[in-house]
Every structure is written in structure tokens, then in C-alpha cells.
């Protein structure tokens, strides 16, 4: 359905941002992403991962430079038009509101005046919650609740999904489930996913990793390039040991876990 050609869908052009005027937080940042990319943002606490996602989603406005989505300045879009292109899930989601799965997923239709391409039932099926469609989200497990919000973004039809630490506080089982789901959705619908992370081993699951330190990109590339002892030392100020798979195996062919890992 989709060709391998990647259009630029998100572009940071010399972006600067500060929470208070005296101290720049994001400094002269430039990068671009194409459709269908699966990118992990990795960095220590306070390095600027969440801020980058909030800037990319238009929640925060840049102090300097431009952010373009699909070739147009992000702030030039009407709210509803922007919402059809990108969706953002914050780290902290209210999981205690007694909406049903269906009600919450239906909210993905809000930017549309006509029915979106993907129906609510289809989205619920994609995240494997058909049997729980009428359940209250308060009755679901932590991993299932995250999947409900992911289904909402699917209905929203966004080609770019920005997720702020979606794996935080999830058991390893749910982390794996959610990553597999996102990879599946990426393959099926050619969406680009950008996800803030804190676990270096999880970062190995991504096609591309952006390593951030103090509001600047230390390195942006495939895991082999980024996850080096020196760069990780710079980013996290810790010594780690990188255990590589046998030379005969290609990192790109890696399935899920266990073949490359980082020993602390």
C-alpha cells in the first residue's frame, strides 16, 4: 500500500525554547523525520525529551526557529486540522475517569465533522480490546488502559504519534505488548511514532534513536551508532557495557528482545 519513500513530516529548524527567559532549555535544535519512522527519544531526566514532544505537538511555542509538520509551520494549522495529522499522548493520563473503552476511543473522532477513515470498532479491534469495548477503563489493567488511548489516536487518524514515556510504570509484559502493538500499527498504517524513553534496553527496539542531553541532540541515528559506551556515558554519566550479538546477525533483522542488551 505504501511505498518505501519517506516524506518529511516533522522538521525542527534551529529550534530554541526556554521556560524562563534567562536560561535556554532547548538549544538550536534541527532534525527531520519521515513518514513511517519509529524513533525513540532517549536521555536523562530533565534532558528535554518531554519538551521536544510538546514543541512538536504545538502545545509549547518555540522561542526561536520553526517547527513544520507536513511542510507547513505547525502554528499555522487550525486546531482541528492539526489534530488530524498528529496526536500527542502525555506521560500522565487520567486513568480513573469512568468512561467506557468505546466512549474514550470515540473521542478520537472529535476533529472530524464526518466519520473518519477508521471506525471506533476497528480501532478497538486493532488494540485487541473488542471484548472489553463496553467496560469502564477503570476496570482494565494498566497496559490495556494505555492501549485504549492508543486506539483513540488511531481513530484520530494521525500520521505522526508522539508518546511521552508510554512505558513508564508498566510491567515488562505490558511494555512488550505495547511496543509490539505500535510496531504493528506502524507497519499497517505507515504512521511515524516518536516516543520518549528512559530505558536504554527498550531503545534497542527502535529503528532510530535520538540521544538528548541538556536540550541538545548528542546523536541521532540507528541504535548501533547511538548506543555506544562513550555516548551513553556522555548522556547519562554512567559506565555501561554493550553486549552485541554475534557478527553474523544483522541488527535490522532483530525481532524483539534478548539479542542486544546493555549491561549496567
Amino acid at each position: 500500500m505504501f511505498s518505501g519513500y519517506k516524506n518529511t513530516i516533522l522538521e525542527f529548524e534551529r529550534v530554541g525554547f526556554s521556560y524562563n527567559r534567562d536560561k535556554p532549555f532547548i538549544k538550536d535544535m534541527s532534525f527531520s523525520l519521515g513518514n513511517g519512522e519509529f524513533v525513540g527519544l532517549l536521555g536523562a531526566n530533565g534532558s528535554g525529551k518531554s519538551t521536544i514532544l510538546k514543541l512538536a505537538s504545538g502545545i509549547l511555542k518555540t522561542s526561536d526557529g520553526n517547527i513544520n509538520i507536513w511542510g507547513k509551520h505547525i502554528q499555522s494549522y487550525k486546531n482541528k486540522d492539526r489534530a488530524k495529522l498528529l496526536s500527542y499522548l502525555p506521560q500522565i493520563l487520567d486513568m480513573q475517569i469512568p468512561f467506557t473503552v468505546k466512549e474514550l476511543v470515540s473521542m478520537g473522532m472529535y476533529p472530524y465533522d464526518i466519520l473518519p477513515k477508521l471506525t471506533v470498532d476497528e480501532a478497538i479491534e486493532m488494540v485487541g480490546l473488542t471484548d472489553n469495548a463496553e467496560s469502564l477503563i477503570t476496570n482494565l489493567s494498566a497496559g490495556e488502559r494505555r492501549r485504549v488511548y492508543i486506539a483513540m489516536t488511531m481513530v484520530q487518524g494521525a500520521g505522526l504519534v508522539l508518546l511521552d514515556e508510554p512505558l513508564a510504570n508498566l510491567d515488562i509484559k505490558y511494555q512488550i505488548e505495547l511496543l509490539r502493538l505500535l510496531k504493528k500499527l506502524k507497519e499497517k498504517r505507515d504512521i511515524a511514532v516518536v516516543m520518549a524513553l528512559h530505558d536504554i534496553n527498550i531503545a534497542l527496539q527502535f529503528e532510530k534513536i535520538m540521544l538528548i542531553k541538556e536540550g541538545e541532540i548528542l546523536c541521532f541515528g540507528n541504535p548501533e551508532t547511538v548506543l555506544t559506551k562513550d555516548l551513553l556515558k556522555k548522556a547519562f554519566d554512567v559506565d555501561v557495557e554493550i553486549i552485541r550479538p554475534s557478527k553474523s546477525r544483522n541488527v535490522g533483522e532483530r525481532q524483539d528482545y534478548g539479542e542486544v542488551y546493555i549491561k549496567y
Binding site: 486546531n79 498528529l86 500527542y88 473521542m107 484520530q156
Partner: protein
């Protein structure tokens, strides 16, 4: 869902009809004489309409406010709007102002409510938008200040007008007449329609400002529009018949218990529930110790508080 709504509407009509024919004097609908006709048209019907309008405004406002403030304890009075209305109205009652005939007190209350609403809004505004916590604290602070001034005025005033003022504060529907209904109707309907048209945005606001943005709304703009709708409904309600407590807090929780938290349904259901509760409370208030009347606000609290406490024990109910 549709069945539940239909049952609620039928209950509402049954109660409104009963309230029309039952009261200090029971009227047989099948044999009505001239005096009874006059009682029905000039006294009972306007009173029922006022109580329903007020109840609707308070119920809907409570549902909206609990959403935009993300606080299950919010009600229309927490923003201090009613205290502002009470202050101007009681000053008018005690000083015997009557520059606009029967309109004087409603107009004074409406002006007091609007000025307070604007003031609370200004206090809650920072960096281009409303901040829920600031709004809430500004409302609570201003409410305390106005209540203190109100008590001061009442404690130094003579007995004349004092009873009327006290009745008004607890919700006095005995002076309801046709003249004020069109004005109340216009403001309450406007507020209701505005809030219902923003129901999707309200659902999104319940999930948080960042998700609201992600779903294609401006959280600041939506919160402002919804605040204005609540201000209009509350000001109109208070000016029609004084302060009726508990409806704005209780009814949205009952609504969520019955039909869930979706604002598209919760706002109309809360309006309907508010209308039903106030109509029942007023019917009890005017019939129980007839010919003496008890303020409807006291009855709503006496009926509402035990049910509210019962709901407290139910899991997942007292949440926005």
C-alpha cells in the same frame, strides 16, 4: 441509554403535572373553577417554570464546572457568583429599593452575579487562559468576603426586610411571577445551548489540557466559553429565586451514576435532574407546613445530603 432518558423525561412531566395540581390546596384537574384557574395560571404555573428553569441551570452548571475545574466538589456557588448576587440582592431587599418594581431584586442579583463572575474570571486568568486552581481559589476567597459583608449588613439592619432577605438567601420561589420568566429563560437557554455545543471539548478537558490540545481544541478558549455559559446560567438562576444549594453539586454525580460521564448526555440529564429535584423540593416546601412556606434550598439540602452520602459509599461515583 435512550430508555433511561425517556424514563427521566416521563418522570419529569409527571412531577411537573403533580406539582401543578397539588399544593397547600389540591385542585381536581377535571373540575376547575375560576379561582382555581387563577391559582394555576398566575401562581403555580410560573412558580413551576421558575423552579424548573433554576434547577436546570444549576444542574447543567454543576456538570460543566466539575468538568472545567476537574474537581468533583465544584458547584456553581463555589465560584462566588451566588455570594455576589446575594450581597447586591440583600442590600436591595433591606434598603427597600424598588426602582424597577418587581424586577428590582432580580436585576440587582443578576448585576451582582455578573460583576462577581467577571472579577473571579479576571483573578483566574493568567498567561492568556483560565487556570482551574486560580479560578477555584479566587471564587472561594471572594465568596467568603461577600458572605462576611452580607452577614455584617444583616446583623446591623433592622428586622424589617430581614426575614425576606433570609428567605431569599435560602431560595425563595414564592414571588415567582410571569414577568421575570422570559429574561431568565433567555439567559438560561443561552448558557445551556452554549455549554451543550461545547460538550465534546468539555469531555476532552476532563482528560487534561494536553489531550484537549491533541484532540483539536484550544483548552484556554474552551474553558473561557464554558465559564461564560456557567456565569450566565448561575446569574440568571440566582436572580430568579435566590440561592438554592446542593443541586449543582449533587445532580451531576447522580447523572454520572445513571448515564456515565459523557458531557453530551450528562449536561441535559443534569439539567433535567436539577429541574425535577427543585420542583419536588418546592412542592414539599410549600405543602409541608402550609400555610407557612419553607425555602426550597433547605429542602434540596435535606433531601440531597443523605443521598449524596449514600453515593459517597459507591465506588467510582464521586469523580468527574
Amino acid at each position: 441509554m435512550k430508555l433511561k432518558l425517556l424514563i427521566m423525561v416521563l418522570i419529569a412531566f409527571a412531577i411537573f403535572t403533580v406539582a401543578l395540581f397539588i399544593g397547600p390546596r389540591v385542585i381536581n384537574p377535571f373540575s376547575i373553577n375560576e379561582i382555581e384557574k387563577e391559582i394555576l395560571i398566575s401562581i403555580r404555573l410560573p412558580r413551576i417554570i421558575v423552579s424548573v428553569l433554576m434547577g436546570m441551570a444549576l444542574g447543567a452548571s454543576g456538570a460543566v464546572l466539575q468538568g472545567i475545574l476537574r474537581n468533583p466538589l465544584a458547584d456553581p456557588y463555589i465560584l462566588g457568583i451566588s455570594s455576589g448576587a446575594a450581597l447586591t440582592a440583600v442590600v436591595g431587599i433591606i434598603s427597600g429599593l424598588a426602582f424597577w418594581g418587581t424586577f428590582t431584586i432580580p436585576v440587582l442579583a443578576f448585576i451582582g452575579a455578573l460583576i462577581t463572575g467577571v472579577f473571579v474570571g479576571a483573578m483566574g486568568w493568567k498567561r492568556g487562559g483560565f487556570w482551574p486552581e486560580r479560578l477555584l481559589l479566587a471564587g472561594v476567597g471572594l465568596g467568603f468576603l461577600f458572605s462576611a459583608v452580607l452577614m455584617l449588613i444583616m446583623s446591623i439592619s433592622s428586622d424589617q426586610g430581614l426575614r425576606r432577605a433570609i428567605l431569599w438567601i435560602f431560595g425563595d420561589l414564592s414571588l415567582a411571577d410571569w414577568s421575570v420568566i422570559p429574561y431568565g429563560f433567555v439567559f438560561i437557554t443561552a448558557g445551556f445551548v452554549i455549554s451543550l455545543s461545547r460538550a465534546n471539548a468539555l469531555n476532552a478537558l476532563i482528560l487534561g489540557d494536553e489531550l484537549t490540545h491533541s484532540l483539536g481544541f484550544s483548552p484556554r478558549k474552551e474553558r473561557f466559553i464554558l465559564f461564560v455559559s456557567v456565569g450566565l446560567m448561575t446569574a440568571a438562576s440566582v436572580s430568579l429565586g435566590g440561592m438554592i444549594g446542593f443541586i449543582g453539586l449533587l445532580i451531576p454525580h447522580i447523572g454520572r451514576f445513571i448515564i456515565g460521564p459523557d458531557s453530551k448526555i450528562l449536561i441535559p440529564v443534569s439539567a433535567l435532574g436539577g429541574g425535577i429535584l427543585l420542583c419536588i423540593a418546592d412542592l414539599i416546601g410549600k405543602s409541608l407546613l402550609s400555610p407557612m412556606e419553607l425555602p426550597a434550598g433547605i429542602i434540596t439540602a435535606i433531601i440531597g445530603a443523605p443521598y449524596f452520602l449514600y453515593l459517597l459509599r459507591r465506588k467510582d461515583v464521586l469523580r468527574i
